[in-house]
Symmetry: C2
Subunit: 204 residues, 2 copies
């Protein structure tokens, strides 16, 4: 054996992540990925098979990364709202995952190769939601999570929509973040209230 094969793989994966995020599955150019990685083109086919499978590898890696970097911790509706805020921050400073997800949704129409794996990843997150907001329906937890993910992921991908807001770009982002946090908190409160119907009059 010789050479550092693992490094080659990582270089390709990093370059592919950038390219797919920017141009999508159809728009991405294999030659460009190879060039950006400083690696020869055939390595891609050797390590990942074809373009499609490289995309799968990129998306899976990025999902795991974000999931571990932005955990759902703490307890109560406010803690859940803070999770929404952290996810929003993460996606506005690095919109790679949102873009990859929407590219996939548009270009592959939901026929994800790794649908089962995806489902497993998501189930973990639902579990975290249930820990933060104990007592609520598993279904409600899933719906809540979908809502927050859709809002946080949609923002960096739909820049046209901010024409509704005035002010500088930074202002608009700050305001949007606050609104999403408030929405997440409000929803979490409502679902938590559903969970324990009237445990005597709450103090405040």
């Amino acid at each position: 054996m010789a050479w550092n094969t693992e490094r080659t793989r990582e270089l390709l994966l990093a370059a592919a992540t950038e390219e797919f995020s920017a141009k999508g599955l159809a728009g991405a150019r294999v030659d460009r990925i190879a060039a950006a990685a400083g690696v020869n083109k055939e390595r891609i086919y050797q390590y990942f098979g074809k373009k499609d499978e490289l995309f799968d590898a990129v998306l899976a890696a990025e999902m795991v990364r974000v999931m571990t970097e932005v955990p759902i911790t703490g307890s109560g509706p406010v803690a859940f709202g803070e999770y929404a805020g952290r996810l929003f921050d993460r996606h506005t400073t690095d919109g790679v995952l949102p873009r990859l997800l929407f590219w996939e949704g548009l270009e592959r129409g939901g026929d994800t190769v790794s649908r089962a794996t995806r489902s497993d990843h998501c189930a973990i997150k639902v579990g975290q939601v249930l820990e933060v907001l104990p007592g609520i329906d598993r279904t409600d937890a899933a719906d809540l999570l979908i809502t927050v993910i859709t809002l946080c992921d949609g923002w960096p991908v739909l820049p046209q929509i901010d024409t509704l807001l005035a002010g500088s770009s930074a202002d608009r982002t700050t305001r949007r973040r606050a609104f999403i946090v408030r929405t997440a908190t409000l929803l979490a409160e409502a679902l938590a209230a559903d969970a324990k119907p009237a445990p005597e009059a709450a103090l405040n």
Copy 2:
């Protein structure tokens, strides 16, 4: 003069709407559009200039159509929630506009040719929100609208995300609709409460 030029235009626009919605700007094929319209290829260049401008025409037409088909009417938070429901229905039975919007966001990165026009369209909707929920901030109205649009538009484009939900496809859609309506109503109530701080104890 001769020939029905207007009909030719409409045939092309309809075919282009279908093609762009399905494949996006880069993925759409000019030849396919022409063939589907039963019209010769050069007509596209004659009537719309280039591919990009055809996409602009398609998107503008589709926005106007949905805006007029799904107005914001009535009064109060519940009425606003019903608007969210109608928008959700419209987008789940015909996901063309959501797809076009996300394609544009991804492929053009927000450099919309018709950004000014877009802004005007949106302003009308914000005005409708203000009529339904009088007294609330214009900024809040915009944020509320962005939230509902993001949720309703995101659903048909992010089919992977429904792996979080169990049940049949129809069940999942129904449940999602209910949750979005509830979210919209809840937010509208909260913002309306901000608007008129404690107008004596409300009779339920």
